[in-house]
């Protein structure tokens, strides 16, 4: 078999691995789509992300279509979706959740939408912005966050440490509530990532993630169980009001 380049004194792991790779790549491998050809390894035009939408599941172009698709996806994912015509309605909906779920303590971050909603419950709020003890966050019945985007194609919520009050707020408490605006809806993952790259071009948050439904597992006999380690419930309150400053 092909020998592995041996480790010499003073050669770093990096140098060794790169040397091995460069040595190995001297022999050309056939392209999977041209197994018998001698095609030069080159990325074909078809592989640019703008083209993905031709093969991935279809998403409508109109915002109402996208919203409808998002709602359908939420149903399939067992995520609760509540459309609210304005922030006041959303606050009321959040308050109703607090009552019906008998929350005693909630956690949130100081976002424009999150503050009024959290305060509307009248419950003690753990604000993660000031830092927190994991033990305290664990005692909260719900975590309220905003988000970066809603993705119609998959029913996903894009969050980051910036938009969702850190890493743990959206995953440790057993009920995650997202406060989003309808205007945050994007058609697909590619769009969401592109927008995020733009939004964070001065520096990515250390964590950015897609949340698609409540936590689940199928590890026991492939039977679906919700709330494995992450939240058992996911509720999305979607406000129709545009963001301040936007028409």
């Amino acid at each position: 078999m092909v020998g592995q380049t041996e480790r010499k004194i003073g050669v770093t792991g990096r140098d060794l691995i790169l040397a091995r790779i460069r040595e190995g790549l001297q022999r050309r491998a056939p392209h999977p789509l041209h197994p018998h050809g001698d095609a030069t390894p080159k990325l074909s035009d078809n592989t640019s992300p703008e083209q993905f939408e031709h093969w991935l599941p279809e998403v409508g172009h109109r915002s109402e279509e996208q919203l409808a698709l998002f709602v359908r996806n939420c149903e399939g994912l067992r995520a609760r979706f509540i459309r609210c015509m304005d922030l006041t309605t959303a606050c009321r909906a959040f308050q109703e959740l607090a009552v019906s779920h008998r929350w005693k303590r909630i956690a949130a971050h100081r976002g424009l939408l999150a503050i009024p909603a959290a305060e509307a419950t009248g419950l003690p709020v753990l604000w993660t912005d000031e830092g927190y003890a994991a033990q305290d966050l664990d005692q909260c019945d719900a975590g309220l966050t905003e988000c970066d985007a809603l993705v119609a194609q998959t029913g996903s919520v894009l969050v980051s440490t910036q938009s969702a009050g850190g890493r743990a707020l959206s995953v440790l408490p057993p009920h995650h509530v997202v406060l989003a605006r309808t205007s945050q809806m994007v058609p697909d993952l590619a769009c969401a990532l592109r927008d995020a790259a733009q939004r964070y071009k001065t520096g990515w948050p250390s964590y950015v993630g897609f949340i698609t439904g409540p936590s689940r597992t199928g590890d026991i006999e492939r039977i679906l169980v919700l709330g494995a380690h992450g939240p058992k419930e996911l509720t999305i309150l979607c406000v129709d009001d545009p963001a301040p400053g936007n028409p």
Partner: protein, 468 residues
């Protein structure tokens, strides 16, 4: 310790005859097939998506040096510490030393097959460190002190009753036949572990060169917690996990979920690009990425099999493999099971000792057909067989096939041999299904058809003679 091939024969024979196991696995995979097909059909063109995915991975693997350098540059710029580990030893040493130097006592892990591959848990436990697997399936097999059964579904082979007994024995919990209650038991155990662990260790599904982020795909949320709460986060990543561009994830995340789990997207797809940044309220203070080679560059150097590095570890090939479904994951005796395991294990652990995995296949091609990145899996099995023979042919087999070639080049001799077989058949039938039967390997479980009194060639010659 017996040779891997001996263990394989023993275990695969046992499992092949285990009807309960066969039924359990059939049932476990039944729902997956339905869901997988449903979500595949939602793609406007799954075949085209495969072509694109294969092309992107081809680019990634064939420019691996450039993309790795880019990944590390971007990652280090955000405060990530990168360890380039040429082998398992270096990877283990780095992590053990890190733990020692930081006074780490307990570690929580999320699922990483790369970690399994380098036997990381054993190395850490030898240091006196507590290591807990947070993924439900991994936790279960950890408690049972057995390896994962399947790279995506580690506890696929267990019933809820067995899991209930396990929890009762190891954790003292009450027996229950509710998967939900069993899951909640694990959830409760982990709650404290996430908070108390000094270090979280994860794997990664992808490493995005453009942004220096790793991407972790999961459903349970345990990886998010493992990588959020402990002060130190270490990710072990095979060098082949590199993807060129962030937006490539828009294709790969759905394909991974569809192929691997029969879902359009898994619950959590997390991009981690560094330790806690200034202004962030939580997250690990330190983030380390261990880039593991461990003979991947050896596979890379083989242009015939280089595409194997495109593997996204979705497990789809396992799920369609009739051998896997009958012998089960543990028979393979190694980290990676199923078709991908049978292809790469001889490279990772030695051709001569592990070539039997490449032989234990009927080459049906279902794996190649299903692979989302179009790896020519079953052809690689053939190539491994050829390579093994070229390196060190088995003496009696070589004699056999030389004899076979000698015979088959000589039609008259072939006809003579066939006639002899026909005439000698009654003798063979007399010892049919006994070890004296030269065809015993067949006849022990299947009838062998009788040789024809008039073979086709004879019939044709006769017909030709008549019409001449």
């Amino acid at each position: 310790m017996s040779a891997p091939v001996v263990d394989f024969h023993k275990m695969s024979d046992r499992y092949s005859a285990d009807l309960r196991h066969r039924a359990l696995i059939q049932k476990a995979l039944g729902a997956y097939y339905v869901k997988r097909d449903e979500f595949k059909s939602r793609f406007q063109s799954w075949p085209e998506a495969r072509n694109v995915a294969a092309s992107i991975k081809y680019d990634a693997v064939n420019h691996l040096d450039d993309y790795l350098v880019e990944f590390v540059e971007k990652a280090e710029a955000r405060g990530t510490k990168v360890c380039w580990a040429p082998g398992a030893d270096e990877a283990r040493a780095y992590i053990v030393n890190l733990a020692r130097s930081r006074g780490v006592r307990s570690i929580i892990k999320s699922k990483t097959m790369t970690g399994e591959e380098i036997h990381l848990n054993e190395a850490l436990e030898a240091e006196g460190l507590e290591v807990v697997e947070s993924d439900l399936g991994e936790y279960i097999v950890q408690l049972r002190e057995e390896p994962p059964y399947h790279i995506v579904f580690p506890a696929m082979h267990l019933t809820r009753g067995e899991i209930s007994d396990l929890f009762h024995e190891k954790l003292g919990t009450a027996a229950t036949d509710s998967p939900e209650e069993l899951t909640m038991i694990a959830r409760d155990v982990m709650r404290r572990k996430y908070r108390e662990a000094d270090m979280g260790i994860s794997g990664a599904n992808f490493a995005v060169a453009e942004t220096g982020q790793i991407s972790i795909t999961e459903n349970e949320g345990n990886a998010r917690l493992t990588t959020s709460l402990p002060k130190i986060h270490v990710a072990i990543v095979g060098i082949e996990k590199v993807l060129p561009k962030l937006e490539d994830l828009a294709l790969f995340l759905p394909m991974l979920a569809t192929s691997g789990a029969g879902q359009p997207l898994t619950c959590y797809n997390s991009l981690i690009g560094g330790p806690r940044q200034p202004g962030e309220v939580d997250g690990p203070e330190e983030f380390h990425v261990v880039l593991l080679d461990n003979r991947r560059t050896q596979i890379l150097a083989d242009p015939e099999q280089r595409d194997t590095l495109s593997c996204i570890r979705c497990g789809a090939c396992l799920n369609v493999c009739p051998i896997f479904k009958n012998v089960g994951g543990h028979s393979y005796g190694t980290t990676y099971q199923g078709p991908i395991g049978s292809v790469i294990t001889p490279h990772l652990r030695g051709l001569q000792s592990w070539k039997h995995l490449s032989s234990a296949s009927s080459l049906c091609g279902a794996c190649t057909e299903t692979c989302p990145v179009k790896i020519n899996l079953h052809h690689h099995l053939l190539q491994n067989r050829r390579n093994a023979v070229q390196e060190k042919p088995t003496a009696w087999e070589q004699v056999l096939f030389r004899g076979f070639a000698f015979l088959m080049r000589r039609p008259t001799l072939f006809k003579l041999a066939a006639r002899f077989g026909f005439l000698a058949e009654p003798l063979r039938r007399a010892v049919d299904r006994t070890p004296l039967d030269p065809l015993f390997a067949w006849t022990q479980s299947r009838a062998f058809p009788p040789l024809a009194a008039e073979p086709f060639s004879a019939w044709w010659a006769k017909r030709r003679g008549k019409s001449a």
